[in-house]
Every structure is written in C-alpha cells, then in structure tokens.
Amino acid sequence: MPIIELEDVSKLYGFGDAATVALDEVSLHIEEGEFVAVMGPSGCGKSTLMNIIGLLDRPSYGTYMMNNRSVAKLRPPRAAKYRRDTIGFIFQNFNLLPRLTALENVALPLVYKGMTLGRRTRQASDMLARVGLQHREYYYPRQLSGGQTQCVAIARALVNNPKLIIADEPTGNLDSAGSRLVMELLSEIHKTGNTILFVTHNPELTRYATRVVYMHDGAIVRDEQTVIGDVAPTARRVMYTVPATTVEDDLAGVSALMNHLPDAEPAATMSLKEKTRKTGKARRSKRSRT
C-alpha cells in the first residue's frame, strides 16, 4: 500500500517573470516500508520535495495523497497535527532547541500533543535509550558531539511513533563516524517497519537504501531499486569516476552526477578531457536555448 502518492506536483516561487520552478510536475509513489535515498545536485529541488512531503510547505499544483487522503491543501492546524503524529523530520543542522536538554528536546512533540509531564518524560527517556543516549539525557545540545546531536534529533522525530521519517541530509554536517552512527540508527529504525526518506550527497550512503531517486532541475530523472548493502549502480559510477566535478562544471552549476545519467551523453568511452568539454558545451547551449 503506498504511503505517499505525489501526482504532478509543482512548486513555484515568486510571481510573473521572476517566478522560479523549484519542482516541475514531480510524480512519486512510495510504498510503506521503503528506505528511499534522494540524490541530486544542490538546488535541484530535493529539499523542496522533502518539505512538501513533510507538510512544512504546500505544493503550488498537483495532488498529494498520504495514506489515501489528500493532504495537499490542508489547513495549517491539520497540517500541524500531521507533522506531529505521522511525520518525523530530521534536519541537516539538527534544529534542536539550544536552551532545552536532550530529554526536553525529545519530549517537545509530546508537549504539543498535550501529554502530561511524567508520561512524556518517560517516553522521551525510552526513546533516548533506543538511540543509545540514555546517559546524556540532561546534556544540552552544545555539550554533545555532532553524531550524538543528530541521534537526539532522530529520537525526537521518532518519539511520536510516526509512520514516515523524512531526513534532509541528516549526515551533511557530520564526519564519517557520525554519519555511520546516524545511518546505522536509521537502518535499524527501518527494520522495525518505518518508511524512511532521506536526502544525501554521499553515494556511499545509498548502501542503506532500498531505492534511490535521482533529481535534477526540479524533476525526477531516474528511479532505481537497489539491494541493501550495495551502492546504487548509478551512484557507484559517480563514485569511481575521478574527478567528480570540474571547475567548469561547478561554475555552470552542474554536478558530475548528471554526466552519468542515461539522458546525458554516453561518456564512458571518451577521454576525460573531451568529455568535460563536450558536456559542458552541451549544457551551456541547452541553457542558452531556454
């Protein structure tokens, strides 16, 4: 049963001539229990997609069904209830409240549920134990390492037992040890039956996913199933191609990832130099046409 059904969802910012398209008629179905990695260059609309799925933002056009209920045009109080009860959000910069202890941070969603102090403390404490931070309950976020902080944030996302976990670059601000800690935790949560959606720039992390979605310029350009433990095929090609991006590509805002997507030039046989020149040119000419 699909938990998320996006149908031709678009998101526009600004008005008239100044309008920019952040999402361009994206359709995406996610089944319950999937562990989906979303990859793509900066500014391709990953975060916008996450925000819309997480009900922090509303689509400009299109339909969004969650558990077979339309949630695209929810009124703010209803959206708040969904965010509280069915969605857990994990951010790149953790977004814990600095003046609250780890325990109070984890209990925050329960506060808005109207739970009594005793019950929510117990529940938050259990959740911290589950992410392995029971001994850090009364620490403030600044006293924790990056990995631990993100684990607290994960505990907060989990405390209401949401069906869907959305993580927008959860490892973006972490070192490799922290990333590992966080990803192991997420995959453990996945094993208990939660649906997880996460954004990453690191192809290595697609090992944890069951499905990888590639985005570019506000559209989904590739969607592939993978096996847990293996790097996704498309992502792997990026990983083992040196260099990942050139200066020219960076200036044009194009990630090397795109060079390896099926719709791009078949670059494998070309020499590195030729390839970058050619795709670079192709991109530029395409840009000038539009």
Partner: protein
C-alpha cells in the same frame, strides 16, 4: 491543556530570566504605573478612613460658619466646587454680633467663636512663630467633643483671666515636656499660665481645618480686651440641639446672618463633615489626576512589552520554525508568546506592588498619612497587569503564530 499552559509558563519564565536586565527594563513602565496607582489609591483610602474617624468624633450636630465664600453650592445644597483662595484671603466678615445672632438662632445649643490672634509668643526668652493662638469661649471642649488630658478648661467665671489650654504639640515644642501645667509664657506683652492640656486632636491630613495640636487656646474675652475688640473670627462652631435636624439649623443660620449682613452671603455655613468632604473632593481630584498619569504609564509600559516581544519573536523565528516542524499548531505558538508577554507584565505588576508596600511603610513612618493597601487594590494591580500583558502580547504572538513553518526555519 493544563500541561500545555504549564509548559509555556516554564518556557516563559526561563526566557524572562535568561535576559534579566532586558526584562526588568521592559517591565519598568508597568512597575511605575502599578506603583503610582497602588500608592495613590492607598493614600486615598487612608485619608478617607481618617476623615470618617474625625467626622464621627466631631459629631453630626456640628455646624461650622466661616468668613468668605469658600464653597459653591448647587440647587440641592451639595457642594459643587471649592474656592480655596477665598478661604484664605478673606476674613473679618464675621463679627461678635454674628456670634450672638447664631447663639440666638432657634435650636442652636451652643455657638463658639474661634479667633486667631497674631502676636509674639515668648517662652524662656525664645520666640515661637509657628504656634497659633486662638481665642475662644468655655464651651469649646463640649462642641468639639474633645477631652483634656490634664488640667481643666476655663469657665465663664474665670474667662477674663490669663489662663491657657495648649495642644500636645505645643507642650512638646515650646515647653519640652508632656505636662507643663503651671508653666507660663508671654503673649502680646501679657503673661499666661498653662492650666490645661488637650488630648491629641485627630486631624485628617490635607484638612482645611487648622492643626489644633499646635494651638494655644485663651479666653475670647481676654483676646477682645487685648485687641480692643478688633480680633478677627476664623470660624464659629455651632452645635444644634439634640433632636433638631442640623441641616435645618444650618440653613436657618444662613438665613439669619444673611439678613443681618444686608442680604449678602459673604460667609460659608458647613454642616458636619462638610469641611472634610471638601478635603475628600480635593483628594478625589488628585487621585483622578495621578490615576490618569498612571494609565498613561501603563500604556507606555504595555507598548514597551509589545516592542520587546516583537523583537523577541523576530530573534526566535528559527525556534518557532523548529516548534512548528515538530507539530506545534499556530495556536500553541501563539499561546507560548502570549504567556511570555503576560509573565513579563504580571511580574512587573508584582514588583510594582512590592515597591508600593515599601513606599507605604516609608509614608507611615515619616508622614502623617496612614495609607491603607487593601486587597482590592492589589487585585486591581494584578488584573490590570494581566490585561496589559494580554492586550499588548497579542500582536507579537499573532506575528509568531502566523509565520509559515518553512519561512521560520529558514531564519537563522
């Protein structure tokens, strides 16, 4: 819902305590407003209480006749205005003849003239310019319902002798002892012997009445002889007979004196308690005036709170975003900031009440005022600060609540 409020309260208190100095400055307007309201109202209450005590002490049958028109009356005879200058500037429109007329008026049992005499008071080669010397007749204690602590008042038989009855303050200031019976002083070149000391007069503060504790009473007859019958009468106290209505007697007195003054009302007849009601009128005016200032102060204080809360909302936009992202509804965010503004203003109110209590103690110790802080005033202060918090906290709270979660999160 209750746990929610409590959580908000805790957050709000933490946030107020987190920026102590800023919070105190924010509360200043409220504190000043509450202090002025509570202090003024409690002084007013205290004076009213004293006035009532004095009225009861003097009795309901006392009628005061004064030279000059000090009050304006409307058709029903109620005092509609006070003419302060007339009271102090005019004198001498009442004469011995008037005293006798009053005495003869129907249902008047006693009429006592009070005549303030100017002159040098000398005791032990020292002058005492502050002491008031009053010439009066033997019936004064009866009319005033005032007892003597020591000695006795002069009677009709010895009312041409140089005896004097003094107030408690004179005993202390001039003679330096509680019971200076038999001591003598010089006044207008004549020697007087102290033969009695009054109990303490309980004067209401701000009263138009002279302070009789600081007065020396000598026989009217002696004053007349001393000044060749030119002594000016400060006021005449008349007592209506038991059973007679003081109001009727007062208007009767008015009519008779008016007739003998050529139909000119150049005097004032005040019924029992009316001298004091004049005091109350002045006081009410003052209370209203300061109340107005306090209201402005509360308004400014409220705007201050609104200002700080608006800044706080902008500063904490990211926090608002996080709270909304984890499931806080707009209403819950609004409650949080509303509670915070209210905590600020109510804390200001509490500090204001504490400061007013201190001021009250100081007033009690160093002034003749006896301010009374009633629970009504404290409730008023609490209510007002609560209302100010809610009214001026609403705009910032709405601003916080209406913010889109995604916009709020982008603010860092």
């Amino acid at each position: 819902m209750r746990s929610l409020t409590r959580g908000n309260l805790k957050t709000a208190i933490a946030s107020v305590r987190g920026a102590k100095w800023r919070s105190l400055m924010t509360m200043m307007g409220i504190i000043i407003g509450i202090v002025s309201v509570v202090t003024v109202v409690s002084i007013g209450e205290g004076v009213k209480h004293q006035v009532e005590a004095q009225t009861n002490h003097l009795g309901k049958d006392l009628i005061t006749i004064r030279p000059g028109q000090t009050v304006n009356r409307d058709k029903n005879g109620t005092i509609s205005g006070v003419n302060l200058f007339a009271g102090y500037m005019t004198s001498g429109t009442l004469t011995d003849e008037d005293v006798r007329t009053i005495q003869k008026t129907k249902d008047v049992s006693k009429a006592v003239p009070l005549s303030i005499v100017a002159g040098k008071l000398v005791h032990d080669n020292r002058q005492y310019p502050g002491v008031v010397v009053v010439g009066t007749t033997p019936e004064l204690p009866a009319v005033f319902h005032q007892k003597l602590a020591y000695g006795d008042f002069f009677t009709i038989n010895d009312s041409n002798e140089n005896g004097a009855i003094i107030g408690t303050k004179v005993a202390q200031d001039v003679f330096g002892q509680d019971v200076p019976l038999g001591q003598s002083f010089d006044f207008q070149g004549q020697s007087f012997v102290v033969r009695g000391i009054f109990d303490e007069f309980k004067n209401a503060p701000l009263s138009l009445e002279a302070d009789f504790n600081n007065a020396i009473f000598i026989p009217y007859q002696v004053v007349q002889d001393m000044t060749s019958k030119k002594a000016q009468i400060y006021e005449v106290l008349a007592q209506s007979k038991p059973g007679a209505s003081p109001n009727v007697v007062a208007s009767r007195i008015t009519d008779t004196i008016k007739a003998s003054h050529g139909n000119q009302e150049d005097f004032t007849v005040l019924r029992a308690g009316e001298t004091l009601s004049v005091t109350s009128n002045i006081l009410n005016l003052l209370t209203r005036f300061i109340g107005g200032i306090a209201a402005i102060s509360l308004l400014v204080g409220g705007i201050g709170i609104m200002n700080v809360m608006l800044v706080s909302v902008t500063e904490r936009m990211h926090e608002i975003g996080i709270r909304k992202a984890v499931g806080a509804s707009s209403r819950q965010i609004m409650n949080q900031f509303l509670v915070e503004a209210t905590v600020l203003s109510v804390t200001g109110g509490i500090i204001g009440v504490i400061v007013s209590l201190l001021i009250n103690v100081i007033l009690l110790l160093f002034t003749p005022l006896h301010p009374i802080i009633s629970w009504q005033v404290v409730a008023l202060a609490a209510g007002v600060s609560l209302v100010v918090g809610i009214v001026f906290g609403t705009a910032p709270a709405l601003k916080a609540a209406r913010k889109d979660p995604i916009d709020a999160l982008r603010n860092e």
